[in-house]
């Protein structure tokens, strides 16, 4: 089914990018603040999503399709990443009985830590 080509009402690109920026920064703050790895992962997802939003805004600004393709790539990236990370967390948490956390003064990442 074809969608009719409609000219949307003008929304300034700056506002879209501004939204993306705000979301991105909030995600970053989340990464820096939280200690539980699950929360960190979630904040990462926020950041990725914000980036995708920025791409979509740009693509709609220029009226081209490339931004959406990029968003598609980011999406698959996020999927793969989350899959792997959650698998690891599941395995580690089963062994430790708590959600894996990384603290400020963690011991160094060695070959036998997270990865």
């Amino acid at each position: 089914m074809e969608m009719p080509t409609v000219t949307m009402q003008v929304i300034p690109m700056e506002h879209g990018l501004l939204l993306a920026a705000i979301l991105f920064i909030m995600g970053m703050v989340g990464v820096l603040t939280r200690r539980n790895l699950v929360f960190i992962l979630m904040s990462l997802e926020i950041m990725l999503n914000a980036t995708g939003l920025a791409f979509i805004v740009a693509s709609s600004h220029w009226g081209q399709v490339d931004g959406q393709i990029m968003f598609l790539m980011i999406l698959s990236l996020a999927a793969a990443e989350v899959a792997v990370a959650l698998g690891r967390i599941a395995a580690v948490s089963k062994a430790q009985n708590t959600g894996y956390q990384c603290t400020w003064r963690d011991e160094r990442l060695g070959p036998d830590s997270l990865f």
């Binding site: 939003l53 399709v65 959406q68 393709i69 999406l75 698998g87 959600g99």
Partner: protein
């Protein structure tokens, strides 16, 4: 249409804010799903319906659900929540805020450097399909390989 945009934007921001401040993981995840839905609406208003659909189906529907599954499987319980509460003291926010605010200001300044109006056109699924099978066919293959790698990796890592 702009009302829809700005409304969804506000919802997205608020939801994200709540995500990063919750102590209960499941609550945070649910709020994130709300945020994703709002962003999907924004995509729609920007004339990218296919992206909006993808956002809902893949991101909110697959990735976040997977998150929820794993978290519930872990059965983290009250202990984790208390630990989170203990960790999430107000003083924790100071450092990142000091970094975030200037960054926000700088980014806003950068964005506002050129004021342009633009015309939106709706870019539907057909164009995307054409692009994917045309110039971006390699990207599709690579993405599939990435997913394969993720699959194998997740299987292997989760086995232990």
């Amino acid at each position: 249409m702009s009302v829809l945009f700005y409304g969804s934007a506000i919802i997205a921001v608020l939801a994200t804010l709540l995500v990063i401040t919750r102590t209960n993981i499941v609550h945070a995840l649910l709020y994130f799903i709300v945020s994703l839905l709002a962003i999907a609406v924004i995509f729609y208003t920007l004339g990218a319906p296919f992206a909006a659909a993808l956002e809902i189906i893949v991101y909110a529907g697959a990735i976040m659900v997977m998150f929820l599954f794993v978290v519930m499987m872990l059965n983290l319980g009250q202990v984790t929540q208390d630990q989170e509460k203990a960790w999430l003291t107000p003083s924790v926010w100071i450092g990142p805020s000091i970094m975030a605010v200037p960054l926000l200001v700088a980014v806003i300044y950068a964005i506002n450097l050129n004021q342009e109006q633009m015309a939106h056109t709706v870019v539907g699924g057909k164009e995307i399909g054409v692009a994917l099978f045309g110039p971006y066919v390699l990207a599709v293959e690579l993405a599939s390989m990435l997913l394969l790698a993720g699959l194998v990796g997740a299987y292997h890592l989760a086995r232990k």
